[in-house]
């Protein structure tokens, strides 16, 4: 599935300063592998040694946090938009 991935500033050094990438993946887990293929090193930034997403990394598929969906098994459709966002303080 061809999806669009929004890359946060802290990772743009690994994407040749690109803020968006096109990727082909059937779910988030595959997306991580696919990103690693095109931007070596990026997976280690997003996942810990056990391969789990780091605790300050948020993934959204079409504006929905994947923790409200099926986590890294969340499936992707053609044209989906995946956003990678660091945790943000607020108020």
């Amino acid at each position: 599935m061809a999806v669009k991935v929004l890359i946060p500033t802290p990772l743009q050094k690994l994407t040749n300063e690109q803020a968006t990438l096109e990727c082909s993946a059937g779910n988030i887990s595959e997306l991580l592998e696919s990103l690693e293929q095109s931007c070596p090193g990026i997976k280690a930034r997003l996942c810990d040694d056990q391969g789990e997403l780091r605790r300050f990394v948020n993934f959204y598929v079409n504006n929905e946090d994947i923790r409200f969906l099926e986590g890294i098994s969340t499936s992707l459709q053609d044209g989906d938009e995946v956003s990678i966002i660091p945790a943000i303080a607020g108020g």
Binding site: L6, I7, P8, T9, P10, L11, Q12, K13, A19, R45, L46, R54, R55, F56, V57, N58, Y60, N63, D65, R67, F68, S83, I85, P86, A87, I88, A89, G90, G91
Partner: protein, 432 residues
């Protein structure tokens, strides 16, 4: 240009940004996330320089604002923005304390903080001072309302362009209280977490200074002043217990950091301070994790009248949980009805009209006392962080109505008699 002696004394206290997770260090630029592990970045200070140069006397000789703590704040020049923020009253509570059965209760009243009546003026004063140093011409934020008011107001004062993002369903007071300063105001059709995500995406592509995104390490340091001021106002002493609202968890962790820094620099004698947090039940991911013994949160979709603290995916939750646990504090949540009752209780006993976040904090204070989790003798400080005039919708059906009378003495007498009868009826266990 040769720096003056006073600049030398105060200007070189912060040295780097450091990842709270992996310890990687970065220059003091506009960035908030570790490139290696995505952990949040925090400002590092030269503690030995602070020990050499800062005393109680140098602080007391400073301005009557947060800038008296200038060496502990992350600005490099003396060109900071001082709009009188901070040094809000710390009141010894008598009536509320008696009602709750506490002997040593204090209220830190940021409902009257300047210029926009919430604690956010502290963080924004610092963030925009740093934004100007970093050369930003446009500043921005994602906000549940108070931050929008503060960013728009202080940007106006500083002559910075301003674009603010809020959820579209905010209280009218917070919308008008932002628009009056003429920023660009984006009302996003979504909840705060969605606004935040959008702003992160905007921050990736626009060269703006987002106070709570790429300026966050500087911004969040402003909250430490709520710790410093309480120490100073208690006569250079730490409290035994604090109760503060939890939204992202940033305020809570920075009050704690403020206490620790003053201990480390030798400005106050060390002693344990219990740190307890307050959430609204309709958005209580941190309270739930605390109760269930988890060290991570599960995000929620907020549904509460306490909109200013309705953050379903709180960034500093893990640190807030850690602090509450290691200080023997608690994190508790209360219903919307308890929040309204908390607002009324504070108003009727202390004359302070707080917003829903303050109602949440008072209601949690009450709940903790009733559960025996606050000792009556503990020197307890409760943090009131916002003003009730901004969230009138939450309270308008719970405060009654004025007695409308004719401009005649007998009309007044009849109305007075009637109101006294109603008062008496309220005290009776059954309706008559």
């Amino acid at each position: 240009m040769t720096p003056t002696l006073s600049q030398l004394k105060t200007s070189a206290t912060c040295t780097a940004l450091k990842c709270k997770e992996c310890g990687a260090e970065y220059e003091l630029k506009a960035t908030h996330v570790c490139e290696m592990c995505f952990g949040p970045l925090e400002v590092v200070y030269d503690i030995s320089a602070l020990k050499r140069t800062v005393t109680r006397e140098t602080i007391q000789a400073g301005p009557n604002s947060i800038w008296r703590y200038r060496p502990f704040l992350p600005v490099l020049t003396e060109q900071y923005i001082d709009v009188g923020t901070g040094m809000t009253p710390l009141l010894k509570s008598h009536r509320l304390a008696r009602q709750l059965g506490l002997k040593n209760l204090y209220i830190k009243n940021d409902a009257v903080n300047m210029p926009t009546l919430s604690f956010k003026d502290r963080v924004v004063s610092v963030a925009l001072s740093r934004a100007r140093e970093l050369g930003f011409e446009t500043v921005s934020c994602a906000s549940t309302g108070n931050l929008a008011n503060s960013t728009a107001a202080i940007a106006a004062h500083a002559g910075l362009d301003c674009c603010v993002f809020i959820p579209a369903d905010l209280e009218a007071g917070k919308v008008i209280g932002t628009l009056i300063y003429s920023p660009t105001l984006m009302a996003v059709q979504g909840n705060y977490d969605q606004v935040n995500r959008l702003c992160s995406e905007v921050a990736n592509t626009h060269g703006w200074g987002f106070v709570n995104i790429n300026l966050r390490p500087y911004y969040s340091e402003g909250s430490k002043t709520l710790g410093y001021e309480v120490i100073e106002q208690l006569g250079w002493e730490l409290p035994d217990h604090i109760v503060a609202p939890l939204a992202s968890g940033s305020l809570f962790t920075k009050i704690y950091k403020g206490f620790q820094e003053f201990i480390e620099v030798g400005l106050v004698a060390d002693k344990p301070v219990r740190c307890s947090g307050a959430q609204a039940e309709g958005c209580s991911p941190i309270a739930k994790a605390f109760k269930e013994g988890r060290d991570f949160i599960l995000p929620v979709k907020p549904n509460t009248i306490a909109k200013s603290i309705a953050i379903g995916n709180p960034a500093d939750a893990v640190y807030a949980l850690d602090i509450a646990r290691k200080t023997n504090g608690n994190i508790e949540s209360v219903t919307d009805a308890e929040i309204v009752a908390g607002m009324k209780l504070l108003a009727e006993t202390e004359g302070i009209f707080t917003e829903t976040a303050g109602g949440t904090t008072i209601a949690v204070l009450k709940k903790l006392v009733e559960a025996g989790k606050i000792d009556p003798d503990e020197k307890t400080v409760v943090y009131i962080t916002g003003n009730g005039l901004k969230t009138q919708e939450a309270i308008q059906d719970a405060v009654g109505e004025p007695l409308t009378i004719e401009p005649k003495l007998d009309s007044f007498e009849r109305a007075l008699e009637r109101s006294r009868t109603l008062d008496r009826l309220e005290w009776q266990p059954v309706l008559v």
